[in-house]
C-alpha cells in the first residue's frame, strides 16, 4: 500500500508507519487488505469494504460522492440523487498546515483538518461538500469555504435547528427541501417522491440494523476495535452494503461472548482507533457509547409518508445532545439509562481539545453521575496527536479503580 492509497483509505501513513514499529500487533489484524477491505480477526466472518473501494465502486457505477462534515444530515436525500455521502471526521492525522493558515490555534482539530483535507489529492474524489451546522467552528468553516477558500466542489451548508418542538421539525423539513433544490439544479435530476421514499426506507433499514448492532453489542464476537470498524463503516458504505454486512453480524449473534470491565465512551469520536485496542488490552470493554459519530446517531424511522418530513422526524429522534439543543438533564438521563441497560461501571469522557459544546456539558454530567456513585474520567485529545502515554495511564488507572 503506498501513501496515496493509505490516505485515500482514511489512514494516516505516518501513524501507520509509526504503528508498524510499535507493539500494536493486533492493530494490523484489522488493517485493510490489499483490496482495501477490512477482514475481521474474530470468529465472525466479516469483510468490510474500505472507504476508497467503496468510493471507487460507487463512482464506477455512475454515482457521485458527497463529502459530509459532522454530525447530522439526511443520507437518503443524497442517495436519491445517486450521490453517496462519505463522512469526513477530520480526517485524523493529516498535515494541518493549510487549515492553520486560515484558522486560529484555538479552533478544534476536526475543523482544522477538514479544511486541510480539501487541499489533498484524496479530496478530489469528492464531487460536492456538505457542511452541516453543528457548532460555531463548523459554521465558520462553512462560511470560509463559501467565501474565501476556493475549492472546485460546490459547498452546501445545512442548518440544524435547536429550538425543540414542532417548529424545529417544520424548519428542518424546509431545509431539506432547499438542499433538494440545490442538488436538483446541480445534477439536473429530479427524484420522484417514490424514489425518495425508497431511499428513505433503505436508510431506515440500515439505521435499524446499526441500532440493533449496538443493542446486541455483548453478543457479538467482536473486539472493540472491530465493532467500531463495523459500525463506523456506516460513515461511507451505501445503506444496502451496510445492511448486508450488519445482517451477517446479526446472524452470528451468540450468548454473551465478551467480558472485560464495562465502560461507556462519551465524546465526539474514538480517534486514534488504536485507543480501542489499548482499552481492550487493559481489560476494559466499551459496552455502549455516547459518541457523536456513533451512539448519538441511532436514528429511529420517521412516521410521515411525506419524504422531507419523514427524514426530519428521523434525525430529530436521535439521542439527546447539544447538537439538537437538548437540555443537560436529558443528556444525563440518557447516559444513566445507557449505564443501566449496558451494565457499565463508569464513563470515559473522551473530548476533543477546544470542543466548546462538549466542555459546557461536562461538569454537570460528571456531577450527576457522581451523585449516583458512578465514576467518570475525562481525557482530552487532538485528532492529530498520537495516543499519549498520559492518556493511556489515565484510562488504565480509571479501569483499575472501577474493576
Amino acid at each position: 500500500m503506498d501513501e496515496d492509497q493509505a490516505l485515500s483509505e482514511g489512514i494516516n501513513i505516518k501513524k501507520w508507519n509509526d504503528r508498524k514499529n510499535s507493539n500494536f500487533a493486533s492493530f494490523y489484524a484489522n488493517m485493510p487488505n490489499e483490496n482495501g477491505a477490512i477482514e475481521m480477526s474474530s470468529t465472525l466472518q466479516l469483510s468490510i469494504p474500505g472507504r476508497a473501494d467503496s468510493i471507487r465502486s460507487f463512482k464506477a457505477n455512475g454515482g457521485r460522492i458527497a463529502g459530509v462534515l459532522p454530525i447530522h444530515y439526511p443520507r437518503a436525500l443524497f442517495r436519491a440523487f445517486n450521490i453517496l455521502p462519505v463522512e469526513i471526521w477530520g480526517p485524523p492525522g493529516i498535515d494541518p498546515v493549510f487549515g492553520s493558515a486560515h484558522l486560529q490555534a484555538y479552533i478544534c482539530s476536526i475543523v482544522r483538518n477538514a479544511l486541510s483535507f480539501t487541499q489533498t489529492k484524496s479530496f478530489q474524489s469528492v464531487d460536492i461538500l456538505v457542511v452541516p451546522h453543528a457548532c460555531d467552528s463548523l459554521q465558520g468553516l462553512g462560511s470560509i469555504l463559501l467565501d474565501f477558500v476556493s475549492i472546485d466542489q460546490p459547498v452546501i451548508p445545512l442548518y440544524l435547528p435547536r429550538s425543540g418542538g414542532m417548529n424545529q421539525t417544520a424548519f428542518l423539513e424546509k431545509e431539506f427541501e432547499t438542499v433538494y433544490q440545490r442538488l436538483e439544479s446541480w445534477t439536473g435530476y429530479s427524484p420522484s417522491q417514490d424514489e425518495m421514499m425508497q431511499r428513505i426506507l433503505n436508510e431506515e433499514e440500515a439505521d435499524q440494523k446499526l441500532a440493533s448492532l449496538h443493542k446486541q453489542r455483548k453478543n457479538l464476537s467482536l473486539s472493540d476495535i472491530e465493532f467500531y470498524r463495523l459500525v463506523r463503516a456506516r460513515e461511507f458504505l451505501t445503506a444496502e452494503g451496510f445492511s448486508e454486512i450488519a445482517q451477517k453480524a446479526h446472524d452470528q449473534v451468540q450468548d454473551q461472548v465478551l467480558d472485560g470491565i464495562p465502560i461507556i465512551l462519551s465524546g465526539i469520536l474514538p480517534e486514534p482507533m488504536a485507543l480501542l485496542e489499548e482499552i481492550s488490552r487493559m481489560g476494559g470493554h466499551i459496552v455502549a457509547d455516547d459518541l457523536a459519530c456513533s451512539g448519538r446517531r441511532l436514528y429511529p424511522p420517521g412516521r410521515s409518508q411525506e419524504s422531507f418530513l419523514r427524514m426530519a422526524e428521523s434525525l430529530l429522534g436521535a439521542a439527546p445532545s447539544w447538537s439538537w439543543g437538548s437540555p443537560i438533564q436529558d443528556r444525563l438521563e440518557h447516559l444513566l439509562t445507557m449505564i443501566q441497560t449496558s451494565g457499565a461501571r463508569g464513563v470515559v469522557f473522551y473530548n476533543i481539545k477546544f470542543c466548546e459544546p462538549e466542555l459546557f456539558d461536562l461538569p454537570n454530567l460528571r456531577r450527576g453521575l457522581q451523585e449516583l456513585a458512578i465514576p467518570s474520567t475525562v481525557v482530552e485529545m487532538d485528532i492529530n496527536d498520537p495516543l499519549s502515554n498520559q492518556t493511556l495511564t489515565r484510562i488504565e488507572a480509571f479501569l483499575e479503580m472501577i474493576a
Binding site: 486560529q104 465558520g140 470560509i144 424546509k174 432547499t178 439543543g325 443537560i328 466548546e356 456539558d361 460528571r366
Partner: protein, 442 residues
C-alpha cells in the same frame, strides 16, 4: 410584595441608592476635572455624559439587586428580542454585560478560577466562566444578581450562548426560551428561516406571558420597540459623527458608552441619555475637539474589546496620534436600527434579530469592514483574534489577507481574550502594536 419588602425596595431603589449614585457621579466628575485618570496629554477629557452613563448603569444594577422583590426577572443574551420582556415588565439582566463589568473591574480571572474549580475548562468563553464564577461564589462587583424566573438565549450572536444557557437552566431549574436564528450564509436569510424565527417568537411570548402571569399588550410592545429603535438610531448617529476629522468619540469610548444600548434598550432613559451624548459630541465637533489630541491615523477595531486593557490601548495608540474611530462590535448595535419596525409586528422582529453581523457570513463581515474603512476614512484595521469568541474570530485570517491584498489596507491580527487576562501577553501585544504603528508611519 409584603409591606416590609415594599419598604426595602422603595427605600433602596427609589431613594437611598439613586442618591448615593448621584453623589458618586458628582465626585467622579470633580475628581476627573482635577486629575483625569486617562493620560490627558494624548487623550481628550472624558465626555461629561459618560459620568451620567455610570450613574444610569449603576441604577440598572441597583434595581437588579432588589428585582426579585418587585418583578419577574429575565436573564437574556445581548442579541435577544428584549422588547417582548420589557413590555411584560420583566427586569432584564444581561450576563454578558455583567461579565464585561467584571472584566473592566479586573475580577474576571478570579471568578473564572471559581468556575474552573467547578470543572469548567479554560477553553470555553471567558464571559461564561466569569458568570459561572459569580453563580458558584456569589461574588460580583454589582452587589448581587437577582435570580432569574426565565432565561432567554438567542443564537444570533453565537451558538455558545445556547450551551451557556443550558447550564444556567440546569442550575436554576427555570424555563429556557431559545430563539434559534439560522446562520445567514448568503446575502439573504431564506423565507423558511425567517418563518422559523417568527414562530419561535410566538412561542416565546406564550412562555413569557405564562411566567409573568400577564398578557402582552400590543400597544406596549410597539412603544418599547419604538424606544428601542430611537435609541439604536441615536447610537448609530453618534458613531457616524466619527466621519469628522478629528473623530470626536473613539471606539474605546464607545465600548464604555455602549452599556445602555445593550442592556437598557427600550427604556426612555436610554433615548434621553444618547440624545444628550449626541449633543455633547456635536459640541466637540464644533470646537474641533478630537478623542485623541493629535489625530494622525484612524483605525478600525474588529471584535470584542479587551475589557481589562482599554486604558492601556487608548493611551498607547493616543501617544502615537492614533485613534480607533470605529468598531464592527459597537456598530452591531446601530446597524440594525433601520430594520427595527415598531409597526411591523413579529415579522419585522424576526428579520431584525436574524441579521446581526455575528449571524452573517465571513464575507459580509469583510464587506462591512470595507464600507466602514471608506465611510470613516480609515488607515488600517486591528482584528482582535479573541480566543473566547470563535464565531467572531473565525474568518479573520482570510479577512486580514483580503484587507491587505484587495483593499490595500494595513491590518493587524492581535491575539487576546476579551475577559481572561491570562490569555493576553502585554509584551507581545506591545511589540505587535509598535510594529504596526511603525508600518502606518504614525
Amino acid at each position: 410584595m409584603s409591606a416590609g419588602d415594599w419598604l426595602r425596595y422603595t427605600w433602596n431603589v427609589k431613594y437611598l441608592g439613586p442618591a448615593a449614585l448621584r453623589i458618586n457621579r458628582w465626585l467622579s466628575e470633580y475628581r476627573s476635572r482635577k486629575d483625569p485618570r486617562w493620560n490627558p496629554e494624548y487623550l481628550a477629557p472624558p465626555l461629561r455624559t459618560s459620568f451620567r452613563n455610570k450613574e444610569l448603569v449603576g441604577r440598572h444594577w441597583l434595581e437588579g439587586r432588589y428585582a426579585n422583590l418587585n418583578q419577574k426577572v429575565a436573564w437574556v443574551t445581548s442579541g435577544a428580542p428584549v422588547e417582548i420582556f420589557k413590555a411584560l415588565d420583566y427586569y432584564v439582566l444581561y450576563p454578558e454585560n455583567h461579565a464585561a463589568i467584571c472584566g473592566t473591574a479586573r475580577v474576571a480571572v478570579d471568578l473564572s478560577s471559581e468556575a474552573e474549580s467547578a470543572g469548567y475548562s479554560r477553553d470555553i468563553c471567558s464571559y461564561a466562566r466569569t458568570d459561572f464564577g459569580t453563580l458558584f461564589s456569589g461574588k460580583t462587583p454589582v452587589g448581587n444578581l437577582p435570580k432569574p424566573d426565565i432565561l432567554v438565549a438567542c443564537t444570533n450572536i453565537c451558538q455558545t450562548v445556547l450551551f451557556w444557557y443550558r447550564v444556567l437552566a440546569y442550575h436554576f431549574d427555570v424555563p429556557l426560551i431559545l430563539i434559534d436564528t439560522p446562520f445567514v450564509y448568503y446575502e439573504e436569510a431564506s423565507p423558511h428561516a425567517l418563518a422559523y424565527v417568527k414562530s419561535q417568537l410566538e412561542q416565546a411570548i406564550l412562555v413569557a406571558e405564562r411566567v409573568a402571569g400577564k398578557r402582552l399588550k400590543e400597544g406596549r410592545l410597539r412603544e418599547v420597540a419604538r424606544l428601542s429603535k430611537m435609541a439604536s438610531e441615536l447610537w448609530l448617529e453618534l458613531m457616524e459623527r466619527n466621519t469628522h476629522h478629528p473623530a470626536p468619540i473613539s471606539a474605546i469610548d464607545q465600548f464604555i458608552q455602549m452599556a445602555p444600548i445593550v442592556e437598557m434598550r427600550g427604556d426612555p432613559v436610554t433615548v434621553d441619555f444618547y440624545a444628550a451624548m449626541l449633543e455633547e459630541v456635536d459640541r466637540r465637533i464644533e470646537q474641533g475637539i478630537g478623542a485623541v489630541r493629535n489625530e494622525r491615523k484612524r483605525l478600525l477595531w474588529d471584535n470584542l474589546p479587551v475589557w481589562y486593557r482599554l486604558r492601556y490601548l487608548a493611551e498607547f495608540l493616543g501617544e502615537h496620534g492614533i485613534v480607533l474611530v470605529a468598531s464592527t462590535y459597537t456598530n452591531a448595535w446601530g446597524e440594525l436600527a433601520p430594520m427595527i419596525d415598531p409597526d411591523g409586528g413579529l415579522d419585522a422582529m424576526a428579520r431584525a434579530y436574524t441579521y446581526p453581523i455575528l449571524n452573517r457570513s465571513t464575507w459580509y463581515k469583510l464587506e462591512t469592514m470595507r464600507q466602514m474603512i471608506e465611510k470613516y476614512d480609515l488607515d488600517g484595521v486591528i482584528l482582535h483574534s479573541d480566543r473566547s469568541c470563535k464565531p467572531y474570530s473565525i474568518g479573520q485570517m482570510d479577512q486580514r489577507d483580503r484587507l491587505l491584498k484587495e483593499f490595500d489596507t494595513p491590518a493587524l491580527l492581535l491575539e487576546a481574550d476579551h475577559n481572561d487576562s491570562r490569555s493576553y501577553s502585554e509584551e507581545q501585544v506591545a511589540n505587535r502594536l509598535a510594529a504596526f504603528v511603525e508600518m502606518l508611519g504614525a
